[in-house]
């Protein structure tokens, strides 16, 4: 029996953002942009979607005089990611057999 995949995570860029944040305490917007190779506009939209769902929290602050956006994964986001990976496993086990 297949477990349903979270549609919010089942998108290339959003999944990449969540994967990056799962292994770091927090990450700045330019770092995520650099690692995913996404455009600033597209990344901003996807970060907003994840933030609205409560999967990540976005803090807008300043580093010296420059604006700085910091993203952090929330407990809800971590839980959703774990559930997504578990669901993926069920698909992979079926495709292997």
């Amino acid at each position: 029996m297949f477990q349903p995949l979270d549609p919010l995570l089942h998108a290339e860029l959003r999944l990449a953002v969540m994967s990056l944040l799962i292994s770091a305490d927090e990450a700045e917007f330019p770092y995520i942009k650099e690692q995913t190779g996404a455009t600033a506009g597209n990344l901003s939209v996807q970060v907003d979607k994840l933030s609205t769902a409560g999967y990540i929290e976005v803090e807008k602050t300043f580093k010296g005089k420059r604006p700085c956006t910091i993203c952090r994964i929330t407990d809800k986001g971590r839980q959703a990611f774990e559930t997504y990976v578990e669901a993926l496993k069920s698909y992979l086990s079926v495709s292997k057999s």
Binding site: A11, E12, S19, L20, A24, Q46, S95
Partner: protein, 226 residues
């Protein structure tokens, strides 16, 4: 990376693995740089202090003036690390990086506390004894070196580098044995000047080796990790 929702399970897994691996590498390099710079600064300062102490003893001044420079070490490390990270200031820190950082900062705080306490006590005692006697009686360097060896072992456990764990353990034992043997031989066969020179310079040598094995080498390995 495009906004694509038609992913296969294999592609999803590939994205997760790829991003976690990329993040891990970036963070490892960043942590590696910090360790490398801290080790390099410690090694540099220990050489400078050793030279100052040798020059002082040769000039007939039996006071380890050079050791006062240790107080500058945290500032020097902070300045160099800040400068080294200017190019990649966006890189985040993961749990392991934070842990290693906190372990070494804890060591630095305790070592600095012992250093200040030892300096005050030896300053007070020097009113009643000669500088050479004070140097032998109130040497704080063995405590700091043993603390450093312990920090190397803990760092080795965190980074899963067994050679670091074993270096910390065997290094501590060797340090104790060498200190006892050297102390006995020096007191038996050498002049007070040579004893003073050894007690002022030997800690620099030990700290140099500890900094190389505990900070510079693992930092370099993390930095070069592919």
């Amino acid at each position: 990376m495009e906004e694509n929702s038609n992913l296969t399970a294999e592609r999803s897994l590939e994205i997760i693995t790829e991003q976690i691996e990329r993040s891990r590498q970036a963070v490892s390099k960043y942590t590696g740089w910090s360790l490398f710079v801290a080790g390099f600064c410690t090694m540099g300062i220990s050489v400078v202090i050793a030279i100052i102490n040798i020059v002082a003893v040769n000039a007939g001044i039996f006071l380890p003036f050079g050791h006062l420079l240790w107080a500058l070490l945290p500032v020097v490390i902070w300045c160099f690390i800040r400068n080294a990270h200017k190019e990649n200031e966006h890189v985040p820190v993961n749990f392991v990086g934070t842990l290693v950082n906190k372990i070494w900062w804890t060591f630095a705080v305790f070592a600095f506390g012992i250093y200040v306490f030892g300096s005050i006590v030896s300053g007070m005692v020097s009113m009643f004894y000669s500088p050479i006697e004070v140097g032998v009686m109130f040497s704080i360097s063995p405590i700091i070196i043993l603390l450093m060896m312990m920090t190397i072992s803990i760092t080795g456990h965190v980074l899963k580098k067994h050679w670091m764990v074993w270096f910390g353990i065997t290094g501590s034992l060797l340090f104790v044995i060498i200190s006892i043997v050297a102390g006995f031989l020096l007191s038996r066969f050498c002049t007070p000047q040579t004893v003073a020179l050894w007690s002022y310079v030997a800690p620099c040598l030990y700290i140099f080796i500890c900094a190389f094995v505990g900070l510079t080498l693992p930092g370099w390995l993390l930095k070069k990790q592919k």
